[in-house]
Symmetry: C2
Subunit: 148 residues, 2 copies
């Protein structure tokens, strides 16, 4: 197996095709990784979530990482890693257009993984369904391809 | 879709069945997420890697996170998140038994994703094939299950 760099364009191609990845945020040096549903457009990864640990941590520290991959076999795969900056799209008039845009973009994607829409019962308590829309600005982008 | 907590035993069950997940580490508040091949045994997740950014960051800050999942459908999935502590298993006599144990454990698993063994050419330069074995001690464990 040989692993090589992908071009920026190839990496963006993967982010455009995929809508499922893994998001990392951190607080006081402790990283936290969760699956995420996203939509890429113009150097931004749009997504949404209910208010929880992930949102609280990203509000406190906007430095995040998103990884997405395409696996054909154990010997043939690609992975893209984005170092990015979290920006919330609050429910105010100022952000209305961007929220609508994010919503329409996410609606076009396959709704594969959507805890944001789900009824969540954790520790015996139902969690409030407050949706937070956000975008992750791409700061650094790298992609690797493995071939047999 | 309903999302609920999993018991500790159910979460450990998933880690025992799975050998592929996503590892998060961080440096100066910047998280970094990569796919990882692992083997769980007795509160430890064993793995290996070539020396690179991930290893450098975990040596500097041993606080890490590993996420693994099982997806049956968009409505039926489980995900387990481990907050853990990185410990390297260096190639010294003191660690020989634990390295051998890690090696044998990883050999039993399906060799799905093994950049550690691959010839890596990044930025036009072939990377040295220095393998680092390590274990991630489970500090906190949580699991969620989604059902239709």
């Amino acid at each position: 197996m040989l692993i090589q760099d992908m071009t920026r364009q190839e990496s963006i191609g993967l982010l455009t095709r995929r809508s499922f990845g893994h998001l990392g945020c951190s607080q006081n040096g402790q990283p936290y990784v969760t699956p995420i549903h996203f939509a890429y457009d113009q150097e931004c990864l749009y997504s949404f979530s209910t208010v929880g640990q992930k949102i609280a941590w990203m509000r406190a520290n906007p430095l995040v990482c998103l990884e997405a991959e395409e696996i054909e076999s154990s010997q043939k795969w690609t992975t893209v890693i984005v170092l990015g900056r979290y920006e919330e799209l609050p429910g105010t008039l100022e952000f209305e257009d961007r929220r609508k845009f994010a919503y329409s973009l996410l609606q076009q994607r396959r709704q594969w993984w959507e805890p944001g829409y789900a009824k969540t019962i954790l520790h015996g308590t139902e969690r409030q369904l407050e949706l937070v829309y956000f975008c992750i600005h791409v700061v650094e982008l790298s992609g690797h391809r493995a071939m047999p």
